[in-house]
């Protein structure tokens, strides 16, 4: 088999997608006719100037927002046909989210934070806990399981968030400026972790405005004014 003959299964597919915000009489086209496919095992970065629509696109990909026009398919499921509960379920089963500001839940400890998505999936607690402990070990925090988020450094918090994003075994891992709040050394650690995940076959999409972060990914999609400006192969 040659690489080009068989394309991998599409995980996320945007077909002529627009997201329009109605601001009084004038409308803001945050995304304007996007067509693209992200395939199983892909490692993308999404870049562009501020306001170009990166976060809007990631929210759509993560199913916390819906396109105004066009169609979006996750693992072949069209989100346009889903109601709020089904959409939530789709997020819970298919998507892993990593945020710029970590967004850990302060009243829960590390282990509990990692397990949050499982709470909504009816995974048996024993199995969930085993998964969470394994992931904590994986991100190097198995000795901090009962620590509260405020007792951890930024890098450690983000690693907890990564473990949390993986606990539901998602088909698509989304990160919006995941390293935006971290220093260079910690950023490198996190990116190493992403590299590892990519090597294991995880589909990853990073939104970033840092060129050296973007260059670590396989492909970069450049947005400009809500449209695809260019697509670059990094390696």
């Amino acid at each position: 088999m040659t690489g080009t003959a068989t394309l991998a299964r599409p995980v996320a597919e945007l077909i002529d997608v627009s997201r329009v915000y109605q601001m009084g009489t004038n409308e803001v086209r945050a995304l304007d006719g996007i067509d693209c496919v992200f395939r199983d095992g892909d490692y993308w970065s999404i870049m562009g100037s501020s306001g170009s629509g990166k976060s809007t696109m990631l929210n759509l990909l993560g199913c916390i927002d819906r396109p105004t026009h066009g169609e979006y398919l996750v693992d072949g499921i069209s989100v346009g046909d889903l109601d709020d509960d089904q959409l939530s379920e789709l997020r819970g089963t298919h998507i892993g989210f990593i945020f710029q500001s970590f967004n850990l839940i302060s009243q829960l400890n590390v282990l509990e934070n990692i397990m949050v998505p499982l709470f909504y999936l009816d995974v048996p607690p024993a199995e969930g806990e085993a998964r969470a402990v394994e992931l904590a070990r994986r991100v190097g925090l198995d000795d901090r399981l009962d620590h509260r988020p405020k007792e951890l450094s930024g890098g450690q918090q983000q690693r907890v968030a990564i473990a949390r994003s993986l606990v539901n075994q998602p088909s698509l891992l989304l990160a919006d400026e995941a390293t935006g709040n971290l220093d260079t050394a910690t950023t490198a650690e996190i990116l190493d972790l992403f590299d590892e995940l990519h090597d294991e076959g995880m589909t990853i999409l990073l939104v970033t405005h840092e060129a050296d972060v973007g260059s670590r990914t396989s492909q970069t999609l450049w947005l400009k004014d809500g449209r695809v400006d260019k697509v670059l192969q990094n390696r």
Binding site: I64, D65, S88, R91, F99, N103, L108, P117, Y120, N168
Partner: protein
Amino acid sequence: MFGNNTFLRTFRLGVKSLMLHKLRSMLTTLGMLFGVASVVAMLAIGEGASKEAQDQIKQLGSQNIILRSIKPPEDMVSNQTVRVSVYGLTVADFDRIKATYPWAKSVVPVRMLQQEARVGKRLLNPRVLATTPTYLEATGRVIHEGRFLNDRDEAGFANVCVLGYEVARYLFPFESPVGKRVKLGADYFHVIGTMLPRVPIGSDQPDAGTAVTEEILIPLSTGRLWFGDMQVKIRSGSREMEQVELHEIVLAVDRPESVLVAAAATREMMKRFHKDIDYEVVVPLELLLREEATKRIFKIVLASIAGISLLVGGIGIMNVMLATVTERTREIGVRRALGAKRKHIVMQFLVETVVLSVGGGVLGIGLGLAIPKIVEVYTDMEPVLTVAAPALAFAISVGVGLLFGMYPAWRAANMDPVEALRHE
């Protein structure tokens, strides 16, 4: 949808979130605490009050209508040196009542005499009641030893008497009085029985406070024969004579429903035959109803306090929960992004609210159970604690939590996840 496990975990999460703001959570529960406390206290005191009233009516006899002689205001028949007051119930009244209510359970006439009772050196000034055998049943008294007066005693003007419990104990401290003799005034009476004590009723007794049991009962016929209708009272130099045929007539009707009608008819009849108001008609059932009405007002006041505190408590909780929801907008966004459905968010905040209100409620039940104890110490009321009261209070606090938690939870669940995630 929500297994036990899920609920338990949601509950633990709620407690954890509340523990983040211990003081705030504690203060929030105060309103519920006082509301629930007043519900529990109200029920205990209300229950006690109505039990007390029921006991009282049992003693007075709910089917009784009591007529009593009272001295009319000065001055009917008077003479400068010797006053003779003739007033009160008559034997004719008694006969009329008997004739009017042939179906009555009993009609009991009572004469009260002031006579010394003496056994050897022991002397006593008891109430001597001259009455008929029906007295026992009508008053619900119980024979301790021997027997009560019977029809033959009455017909034969027998010199027999029945002693009240205390009287018997005082006059015959070492032996059974039955078969012995007691000197009443100038005559000897054979003791045929003694009675068990009863709790003083208070209002219906002329000598309230002293032991009601200090009495001696003799046949009515004997009483009239030996002591006549005239009684002499020596009062601050002047001699006062009273002529009263009967001091009390107790009419016991056959059914509780007929008490009020019979009372009205009796009043009407008495008005017709007595020019002066030299009698009173006491209907225990009426007294009871009046007392119940007062207690109802008391209950309404307590219920209003409870209602207002619960409302204020509920609003306080809702207010805090709304603040909590705003404060935790980001958390809500994160949870939604990680797969939480609206119902999960609703559940989370609703459980938190209910934990707050039930926490206050449980403390309130504690306080509410303590209040009646304090009332018991400082008043003569005797509150009755029931299982129903705390159970109701618990249900109320769950209800208040659900009611006032609904809106904050709904607000939280309907946030747009994207907006919530952008919230600072």
